[in-house]
């Protein structure tokens, strides 16, 4: 369909308001944060003096920031476990019977709830003397640690709460992918005498690879930049044990108002997120092409 010049102008005019809004509230601040990271902003003086790379140097030298980045990478590293659990559960709840659809809806719930509320919920459930988790553990005679009071268990609790919220995302994408699989191909593999494990390994895994990488695209970045759930679960504590990169930057910028240094830290995070995205998108491109060939 061809458009006259005037029509094209109308179409462009439809785009302008949304783009202007995004430039004002996302694009401009994004670039401005880069400016901030090279100056010494303070509430009194504004932008202040040019600081060169000193903000980057000091935040990269901060052991607390290094620890926080390591924790963010740990959140990233647990994503494959989410995928594995999600995949297994998806296999079991495929199908169109009413109860399967009902189960799927219930299992979807956690990912739709505000992460801040999920953190609060697990804080209550994991509290050492009054929480449900320790009450259950105590009943069956297992140890009842002070979950969010000890460094190691607090990290476990944070990883768990985040997984609890986001495993449903893997489930639901895998359900969509598995439901769309070519049934004749699976049937012919079985006729050819393939065991169930072989069907899974050589047919289902490769064919759901695009779904796997789609989940990775969303979850790897989101896990790396986690903040809400640890904010309400532990606020980074005890000590700085559960402080993620984003949470450290938040505190540095909006609690201590060291905004320039925080901005430098946020660009370190952004650079790392970009590396993650590049790798995952490259893998995704390869997987999509591989599937397209078959």
């Amino acid at each position: 369909m061809t458009y006259e010049r005037r029509d094209t102008l109308v179409l462009v005019a439809l785009i302008v308001p949304a783009v202007a809004w995004l430039v004002f509230a996302q694009g401009y601040p994004l670039l401005y944060s880069l400016v901030l990271s090279f100056f010494n902003w303070s509430p009194g003086t504004g932008l202040g003096d040019f600081a060169g790379l000193s903000n980057f140097a000091s935040i990269l030298g901060d052991e607390r920031f290094q620890g926080a980045l390591k924790l963010s990478v740990l959140f990233l590293a647990k994503v494959p476990i989410e995928l594995a659990i999600g995949f297994a559960l998806a296999l079991f709840i495929l199908g169109q019977t009413a109860w399967r659809r009902g189960v799927r809806t219930l299992l979807l719930l956690p990912m739709l709830i505000a992460p801040i509320a999920v953190g609060s919920m697990w804080r209550l459930l994991l509290s050492s003397d009054s929480g449900l988790v320790n009450a259950l553990l105590g009943t069956v005679g297992l140890p009842t640690p002070n979950w969010i009071g000890e460094q190691t268990t607090a990290v476990v609790a944070a990883l768990w709460a985040d997984s609890w919220e986001w495993i449903p995302f893997s489930i639901i994408i895998y359900v969509a992918a598995l439901s769309g699989l070519d049934q004749t191909l699976l049937a012919s593999a079985e006729v050819d005498g393939a065991s169930q494990w072989q069907v899974l390994r050589y047919v289902i895994f490769p064919m759901t690879l695009p779904a796997t990488l789609l989940i990775l695209v969303f979850r790897s970045i989101d896990a790396f930049i986690t903040i809400d759930i640890v904010y309400s679960l532990t606020f980074g504590g005890p000590g700085f044990a559960t402080e993620t990169g984003s949470l450290y930057i938040f505190k540095q910028g909006l609690r201590y108002f060291d905004i320039s240094q925080a901005a430098a830290g946020s660009w370190v995070m952004l650079g790392m997120a970009l590396v993650i995205a590049t790798i995952v998108l490259k893998l995704k491109g390869q997987a999509d092409r591989a599937v397209a060939r078959n």
Partner: protein
């Protein structure tokens, strides 16, 4: 077709459900038992914590240190306290912000999506990619300068600052999702209308929009949900006046022990509308959350 049409596919090859029989439907009885146990356990892991939270909100303060599942003495005390106190105003903020966010992002986002899916300039693809990128980069990078901007505009702790922020987060969802719906509409319909003399705006308004009405509802629900749940930008620019429910929940942490009941109650107030939405209308929700990559 250039970049634009491949963007939706870029983040996911179409994963269309055809409602076929599940592989597991053919499995042996032993596996059915395993499936039943695994799914059953995960169902409990999902539902019991939510139930426990709900029950917590009906517990009197004395019950909070007993570790009991059910309240010994059911009470509405927490809810009375919540609605007599700060919660009512905060709830109003959440509703106003979510409502305004839905209005602006659905109207502006749908307009932009139509323009972007019909204009044939090379830069359109670039714009779509940039909009897509907003979903993915760390929001922590934006909140610091956004705070500085709102401070110098005198908009700190106002609902205006909240709505501007939330719309900028939800617009990409609406634009990308609506683009996938617009792509599915046969061009012949618009061509026929054009031959009958309908202008671009008339074709958009009277031919295209009625066809995507369900998608508009989906966009509205998704947008409301994202705004209702959003915490980071909200906590960055709000103080006592403009804070929303997630910000209020986060504020109970500093004085823990004293306000566990309020924390549970406000969490329940955040969760219940979302749970109801999910149970009633989850059509197209997955397409929305994956920015159009998965069409269920």
């Amino acid at each position: 077709m250039g970049l634009r049409s491949t963007v939706a596919k870029k983040i996911g090859a179409s994963l269309q459900s055809k409602g076929v029989k599940a592989p597991s439907a053919r499995s042996k009885p032993g596996q059915a038992v395993v499936a039943f146990i695994v799914v059953g356990v995960w169902l409990l892991v999902t539902v019991v914590p939510l139930l426990a939270l709900l029950l917590n909100s009906f517990k009197p303060p004395s019950d909070f240190y007993s570790g009991q599942f059910f309240p010994t003495d059911w009470t509405l005390q927490n809810y009375k306290q919540a609605f007599n106190g700060e919660v009512l105003g905060v709830l109003a903020n959440s509703l106003i912000v979510a409502g305004s966010t839905v209005f602006f992002s659905v109207v502006l986002g749908t307009m932009a999506a139509y323009g972007l899916s019909r204009v044939r300039y090379a830069w359109v693809g670039v714009v779509v990619y940039l909009i897509l990128a907003i979903r993915f980069y760390p929001k922590i990078t934006v909140i610091l300068p956004y705070y500085v901007m709102m401070r110098s505009l005198g908009l700190l702790d106002t609902l205006v600052a909240m709505v501007i922020a939330h719309v900028s987060i939800t617009l990409p969802f609406v634009v990308l999702v609506m683009m996938t719906f617009f792509a599915e509409i046969p061009r012949s319909l618009e061509e026929a209308a054009a031959i009958d003399g309908a202008s671009v705006v008339e074709r958009f308004r009277y031919v295209v929009l009625p066809l995507v009405r369900p998608a508009l509802v989906t966009s509205a629900i998704l947008t409301a949900m994202v705004s209702w749940n959003e915490f980071l930008m909200a906590v960055s620019v709000s103080g006592e006046n403009a804070r929303t429910l997630p910000v209020l929940v986060s504020s109970f942490i500093t004085d823990k022990g004293i306000r566990l009941g309020q924390m549970a109650t406000v969490s329940v107030i955040i969760i219940v509308p979302i749970a109801l939405f999910t149970l009633i209308g989850q059509r197209h929700l997955i397409r929305g959350l994956t920015l159009g990559a998965v069409k269920e």
